[in-house]
């Protein structure tokens, strides 16, 4: 087991990259503690798979170094980095039984026969594949097949990390949460470093202790699910995490009041001071679930017009015209919604201020 460190990594698929746009990965500088569950979350084309392939050794980065513990593995191929990988679709040796599939990595390392079968039984138990050991691997359902791929990594005692590249893509939607639960349980039991690439926030936030949100080749935030929701450090994170994403309104600051086209929103003192210190274009961000609605005027509430109300079963989405901007509020299923005029309350503890897309800190 070892710590994984990426320093000054950048990568381009072109031989002579010129501008920023030629870089699949701009500048990555991060440390991954041993035994942690990490998620690389971002839209298609943000560079998350490139980063995973650099960690697995499939790609050698244009610049920078990859360290396992203090061993520089930058140029080492995957097989020499004792990592395992689960791919988007199940990769199996279809002519073999489940047992042989799981035993394959150990047989290649010429490990003694009954150690192998003991180890395989153990791992099969963890993945509850024991009942299928004698079956041909090709005949099983997609989720069982993905567990076999995972098992080939787990049987090896020397494996430093297991990498997942959107492993749930081919799984039936109604079965996904079963596999998510099993992956989580495995991580709880084995405390292995797991790195999980996905574009789906549910998978990332459920699976990982630390989530790295990537955007256009950069890691824009590393944090616990709580950090990402409550303190998004970049407007992209605010937009990408949570559905619907954060509301953003351009504003100017005087004193501790943020002016949005004539409406004044009171900020807490700390945020206001930080806002004054920054120079860039200021934006005020608040999550739909933190926008409170009442039918009559209340202390420092602001007027808005209801544009539409959508009943989404377990919650309601209210679209509002506030100071000629479109704003969204998320209310519980039973909450009452005024018909035309409404008064909005923005509680300062949930308001975040951004300058040129970055949280003022």
């Amino acid at each position: 087991m070892s710590r994984i460190e990426l320093n000054e990594i950048s990568h381009s698929y072109l031989r002579e990259p010129k501008g920023d746009t030629d870089y699949a990965l701009k500048r990555i500088q991060s440390v991954w503690d041993d035994g942690g569950a990490y998620a690389l979350l971002g839209p298609s084309g943000c560079g998350k798979t490139t980063l995973l392939n650099i960690i697995s050794g499939l790609i050698t980065p244009s610049t920078g170094r990859v360290l396992y513990g203090d061993l520089d593995v930058t140029a080492l191929p995957p097989e020499k980095r004792n990592i395992a990988q689960v791919f988007q679709f199940p990769v199996l040796y279809d002519t073999m039984s489940v047992f042989d599939n799981l035993a394959f990595p150990l047989r290649n390392r010429h490990i003694d026969k009954n150690d192998i079968s003991k180890r395989v039984q153990e791992v099969a138990e963890i993945l509850d594949l024991t009942a299928f050991l004698k079956y041909k691997a090709a005949g099983l359902a997609a989720d069982a097949k993905q567990k076999i791929s995972l098992g080939r990594g787990l049987v090896r005692s020397d494996v430093a990390a297991i990498l997942f590249d959107e492993p749930l893509t081919v799984i039936d939607p109604n079965l996904k949460w079963h596999l998510r639960r099993e992956l989580k349980e495995i991580h709880e039991k084995l405390k292995l470093t797991l790195i999980y690439v996905t574009h789906d926030q549910m998978e990332a936030l459920t699976f990982a202790d630390k989530v790295m949100v990537m955007y256009e080749g950069e890691i824009v935030q590393i944090g616990t699910p709580q950090d990402l929701v409550e303190n998004p450090e970049h407007t992209f994170v605010g937009y990408f995490i949570g559905s619907p994403g954060m509301n953003f309104m351009q504003c100017t600051l005087n004193g501790n009041v943020a002016q949005v086209d004539g409406a004044g929103i009171i900020l807490d003192q700390k945020t206001a001071d930080l806002g004054h210190k920054s120079q860039g274009k200021l934006e005020l961000g608040i999550r739909p679930m933190h926008v409170e609605l009442s039918s009559e005027q209340v202390k420092n509430s602001l007027p808005a017009k209801i544009k539409s109300v959508e009943d989404l079963g377990s919650y309601k989405i209210v679209t509002l015209n506030f100071a000629d901007k479109i704003l969204r509020a998320k209310l519980a299923e039973g909450a009452s919604v005024p018909s035309d005029k409404a008064w909005l309350v923005f509680s300062p503890q949930w308001i975040r201020l951004y300058s040129d897309g970055r949280l003022v800190k």
């Binding site: 191929p77 791919f87 002519t95």
Partner: protein, 291 residues
Amino acid sequence: MDKWENNRAWFLTIPVLVLVAFSAIIPLMTVVNYSVQDIFGPGQSLFVGTEMYTKILRDPRLHDALWRQFLFSGLVLLIEMPLGVLIALAMPKKGWGVSFSLVALALPLLIPWNTIGSIWIIFVRPDIGLLGAFINNVLGIPFDHTRTAGEAWITLMLMEVWHWTSLVALLAYAGLRAIPEVYYQAAKIDGASAWATFRYIQLPKMRGVLTIALLLRFMDSFLIYAEPFVLTGGGPGNATTFLSIYLVKLATGQFDLGTAGAFSLIYFVIVILLCFVFYQVLQGVGKGAKQ
């Protein structure tokens, strides 16, 4: 998304049906017509029912030709299949080498079959052939491909392997190229040796293509005519007289239409049975390859 159900699609196939029927069904009727008569001159024939069939079936020369044909096709598969796979594995995966080797390997497949015979006659003759001269003069072994059955067969097999192994290699290579890169990555990560990668990934994934290659090679070798005819004329004696050569001798040689007709029909029925096996396997393989 499976196919649309529509019987009016028949109209699209009519041109093919008419053309192939004209080239297949009408001639086959004449063959059947011949096979049930004893024709001893233009315009004079006698209906003899199945006598021709029993005659040809008991003909020892047919049994020899049939045995020789299966031996030949068997040897062809035994040598060409493994050699073809070996060549496919040796071919480069990317770079200019790919196009060069594809073109080089495909060359023998484009040469007219009679020219193949001519090439090898020139190549093997002791007086003017490079190989012939090399064996006789340099190795000191007296070698003439027309003298004994053994020498004729060796030359024939050399020519056959030289001519058709590329087909197996091309198909095997196509099978290899279809294997997604992730399988090789997974094998490397699992520490698989080159042999294990071949045995557990490449071979199973090539099962479909190799079955097609096997059946194609068997069918084509089973019908072979031009190359042996040009190289050895079926000789020495009947040593290399395969089914097609014997049939042509029957049909054109002694003007014995009855037996030739019966023999043609039996030969074609064997081919249809082999085709049926080929078609069933193909359906299975087709689905396998499509997954």
